[in-house]
Subunit: 154 residues, 4 copies
């Protein structure tokens, strides 16, 4: 059996006009929006419902007990990105420990890397605000993702 | 006694580079962000704490019982707005009925109107999601604001 | 021959976590971002390249001679929209005159209308900033779109 | 003579409702918007006009010859930030070499650090897109800023 992680770790988007600034290129912090949206899409493609992971509203029947605030993020920009360009986004998720994970998103245009963004999440209990184990669904997604990106067995 | 509404109905902001798009001008929907931020500032200048009005987080001691969702908004754009330009924002709040109010924001550069935005809110009970009377603080702010924009001639 | 406008006038998107605010629902002005992005997607699905229509950067070989600033927009909100929800977006473009057109976007969740946004554009000459005829590509898109939304009965 | 850098290296802002997400706290990438806006404000308070530094539109009489794209940025988040909270922002600009500089922004609430963001810019010639010396105005601002954060001990 072959698990194909391509369907949830490689994503696509078009640069919109509103993503650009007066210099005619993508305004830098939009990259982080793209990173987060790519992560959400990845979870969905893998089979996780967003309402399991994200707080929606006070009327949610089973609001997530675990919150996943971002504690760190960084990006590097190599080439300007223009409206209308087609991005390929390759995700590389990494489990750091039981409560922390990181997702690196590499953005490519015509197979050239144009930018890289990285986001680190910490799992905390919604009530106590204390560090806790990350949700099972995220663990499975991380494991499945690392199998696929992971060092190939000898 | 003269109440001077200038301090809460006339506000100022500078256009930031990130507010512009690839055409070199303010990206249209930023105007609504400015309208909402100007409204928040107006409430604060008048003496209302934002945590009285806006839900903050699940750990808020007294979360507002009344939500004020936006049910309508509109804008018209007369002149392009560029990074670095200084905006004067004149608010004209109007009570529509006991549960609805509207804030019209007129944006000026060098005394010329460049854009007008308008937002309409409805007061609903946070739990039942049913229409209710708006918060007392908002009522007072509306009343004080209309006194100051002047009694209408008979 | 049947022209199927479904592929460019009916679009889909998922609500992202970052689209919501502290009330747990879509923050109102994101709707205008969605409207503009849906319009861009529609043009692309119809066969128009975004770089024909939108200024990208100063190094663009053939920058568009015609700019399409937004002169008006409005929205109404009927139901709260939450992260993870699936939106169907139905576009209804209308030619107002040779230099003005409007795109109304109706947002549905499970076939229920949750919000409607509308944007009006004016064609102006990039150099003179004077009103001009809209680009040929937009005219064709408008015409094809109105054929498909059906001739009005007499 | 004492130069008081407080007026351009210490800035203030209030967290707006639209800066928050469905978790009731500031949505992470807004921090980068705040960093950039604080930098712009700092330049202005120091006495530099934004139109000297940022491209505005094609009709600008003297468009800046030097662009300052962001090549790197990063942030760390220590405490949740809620709507209505008052931020103090302390800027620490650093010249890296003749074409690169970095601005670290530390965000405090009630004298506690809640987040730190850092942005690195590269000066390039607008036409050739090649690395060049940064604008004189930025050099002066960097120098004045470092004088004030104090000479490093030998």
């Amino acid at each position: 059996m072959t698990i194909n992680s391509d369907k949830w770790l490689v994503l696509y988007r078009t640069v919109h006009f509103g993503d650009t600034d007066g210099a005619g290129v993508m305004h830098f912090h939009q990259l982080f929006r793209w990173c987060h949206e790519a992560w959400e899409e990845s979870l969905e493609h893998y089979g996780i419902s967003l309402s399991e992971i994200f707080p929606t509203n006070s009327h949610q029947k089973y609001p997530p007990e675990i919150a996943l605030p971002i504690i760190k993020c960084e990006a590097s920009f190599r080439h300007p990105i223009h409206a209308g360009e087609k991005l390929e986004i390759r995700l590389k998720p990494t489990k750091i420990d039981n409560s922390r994970f990181q997702i690196e998103s590499t953005f490519l245009i015509n197979k050239n890397v144009v930018a890289i963004g990285s986001i680190q999440h910490l799992a905390i209990n919604q009530e106590t605000r204390k560090r806790c184990e990350m949700p099972q669904a995220i663990l499975l997604w991380l494991e499945a993702s690392s199998i696929n990106t992971g060092p190939k067995p000898i």
